[in-house]
């Protein structure tokens, strides 16, 4: 979309002057680079190093590789569990592992993460027990891990709402003298919600240390990016809040870690929020319940298979001589063990006490809830008697 010459009513007779003399550009330092930052080619070969985004240390990249491989195996296992009826539904992270693991590695353990339903791999990469990570989708309670202990908000389903929470949490932490950073995940589709706007704006006005990571995986369920925005890229939203922004190739693990590391450092240094748009792709349907063939071409999916972030990182680390067959095999083995452990533990049905329904509505149940609890207790007792009879 470009400006067009307007309908000129009548030309002014006086001498014309040229376009305004160049004023200092107030958007400098806020606009993203026109092209996503990339440090590895799609085939995994390295691009020449760059000053603005130096390659992260090898140890970090090896760790990233490990967590991505384990994460992907976990993800496949979770999808398999839906087929066995052990999970109600599962939104896969496949293809987005560089973003999810990169985000975790760019943060300290005491930083906060605000994940969406899509971020199961980020959760497990953070060390959250996979069974706890799947509690929501398994249906025994809404959130299975302790968010306060794990510094990880419950996975957020109402889209974009977590963007505001992250701003508040980050501001609250800095208000209390702590140098915590909050990282909020959000999808391309959810950037259309008002809460994205309000959240980023609050963070900017209060200089809250938040990194907003938009995983632009090109679809919001079936709706393609072209229906979400007419912007050149989502990262161009940052300047409108005075928030520096960057685009990154979201399937280039090295670039993702480099860009997020810089974004986190920016936030931690007290410069306020940073917006990163990672260009990636959702390899699986929206969830196992979705039928992606209704709205996208299998060729498109195939094309993205060639940009697989794990293969890319493996190629790079092998080329750098810091990953060999033995290490790859060890990671694969670890991933298998992880999946097997998950599978086993998911085979036992959790026991859930119906009376716990009343425990966490308020700190103490209201008289109304006490009454209702007694009614349910009586019903359960009656059921038991019938069962016994």
């Amino acid at each position: 979309m470009t400006t067009t010459p307007q309908a000129v009513r009548r030309a002014s007779p006086r001498k014309r002057r040229p376009a305004t003399p160049a004023a200092p550009d107030p958007s400098a330092g806020l606009l993203p680079r026109a092209e996503p930052v990339r440090l590895l080619n799609p085939d995994g070969t390295a691009l020449p190093p760059r000053d603005d985004y130096p390659e992260p240390p090898v140890e970090a990249l090896r760790e990233m590789y490990r967590r991505m491989v384990v994460g992907r195996r976990f993800d496949a296992q979770a999808t398999a569990l839906t087929k066995q009826g052990r999970l109600a539904v599962y939104p896969s992270s496949r293809g987005q592992e560089a973003c999810q693991v990169g985000a975790v590695l760019a943060l300290r353990d005491d930083d906060w993460v605000f994940p969406t339903y899509r971020e199961s791999v980020a959760l497990t990469a953070r060390g959250i027990d996979p069974v706890e990570a799947l509690t929501l989708l398994r249906g025994d309670w809404h959130c299975g891990y302790d968010p306060a202990a794990r510094r990880t908000a419950p996975q957020c389903t109402p889209l974009a709402t977590q963007c505001v929470h992250a701003a508040g949490l980050a501001y609250g932490e800095s208000y209390q003298g702590r140098d915590t950073v909050a990282l909020a995940f959000i999808g391309d589709g959810a950037t259309s919600e008002g809460d994205f706007h309000e959240g980023v704006n609050f963070a900017a006005v209060f200089k809250a240390p938040v990194v907003y990571l938009v995983q632009n995986n090109k679809y919001a369920i079936s709706v393609p990016l072209s229906r979400q925005t007419a912007a050149p890229a989502l990262a161009y939203k940052g300047v409108g809040y005075g928030v520096p922004s960057e685009q990154v190739d979201g399937n280039d693990p090295v670039a993702v870690l480099a860009v997020l590391t810089r974004a986190v450092a920016h936030a931690r240094a007290g410069h306020g929020p940073f917006l990163v748009e990672a260009h990636t792709y959702r390899m699986e349907p929206h969830t196992n319940a979705d039928d992606a063939t209704r709205y996208r071409d299998p060729d498109e999916v195939e094309a993205w298979r060639d940009r697989d972030p794990i293969v890319r990182l493996e190629t790079h680390l092998r080329a750098r001589g810091v990953l060999d067959d033995a290490a790859v095999a060890a990671v694969a083995e670890e991933a298998e063990a992880y999946a097997a452990g998950l599978r086993d533990r998911m085979h036992t049905q959790p026991a859930v006490d119906p009376l716990s329904l009343f425990d966490h509505v308020y700190a103490e149940p209201t008289p109304q809830l006490v009454e209702q609890r007694e009614q349910v207790r009586a019903e359960l007792a009656a059921d038991d008697e019938e069962g016994d009879a």
Binding site: L136, D140, H142, P158, G194, I221, V223, Y295, P350, L357
Partner: protein
Amino acid sequence: MATMTMAKALNAALADAMLADDRVLVFGEDVGQLGGVFRITDGLQARFGDKRCFDTPLAEAGIVGFAVGLAMSGLRPVVEMQFDAFAYPAFEQIASHVAKLRNRTRGALSVPIVIRVPYAGGIGGVEHHCDSSEAYYAHTPGLKVVTPATVEDAYSLLREAIDDPDPVVFMEPKKLYFASAEAELPARKEPFGTAVVRRPGTDATLVAYGPAVPVALAAAEAAREEGWDLEVVDVRTIVPFDDATVAASVRRTGRCVVIQEAQGFAGVGAEIAARVQERCFHALHAPVLRVSGLDIPYPAPMLEHTHLPSVDRVLDTVARLQWDDQPDARWVAA
């Protein structure tokens, strides 16, 4: 007569409405090529083109506000909110504009839009996907609020909602989407705004709507064993409310239980109970009792059966209708 699901009947209603009136536009999240996550808009884009049925950016206030603007330009938007709780971002647009625009402009502007809201639970859905939000809308003057319980009603009520000159929040009970029944379409029998006696009975009246209607009918069936002959009234249009049908039934039976799936406190069931006792006090042998969801956030799938009004809970409540004309022991003491 053909067997079809409620989902199919809703789809047919949309298609027939689009055919009948080319001002009707259908839009929302994923309603285009995908046909909606519940497939209610399946095939509409292919049939009517992507200007008549289309996807929007992911923003519910945007969707509803856009519909307001389209209605101002003379069109008749039918929008889909993907799930109950995901209509909340549109609450301001609904409460402050959709509901009030006619009133604010002394009738100069109207907003004949239909907001379709798949609602309620019973499908093992995760959090935020199972809210019963009808009371929020029913409490907002200027909105009509409709909820079908049968396949034929799904068709006719949706057609009538689209033809209505006022905005209608059309609440679709998710758990009934794929229940099927014999149905003949088009099926428009009673005028819009009327409740219907789904099952005649003499001993007590069960008043229900939407997802609670099948529960009421099953309870009435089960009650025969206990020797009770229960009448079941399906409210259908919460606003406007059909006092005449409901009160006539309760005056006949002398006893009443109101059933809703939503949390009870200040819900539609409270309104019905309050109205019934106001209007039928001297006919009542017992207080009007209510069966509803618990006053808790909609629980996780493994616990939803404890939350939802069940046949047993309805029967327990019917049993407390003071058949011996004795006050309810629970509440005499206090």
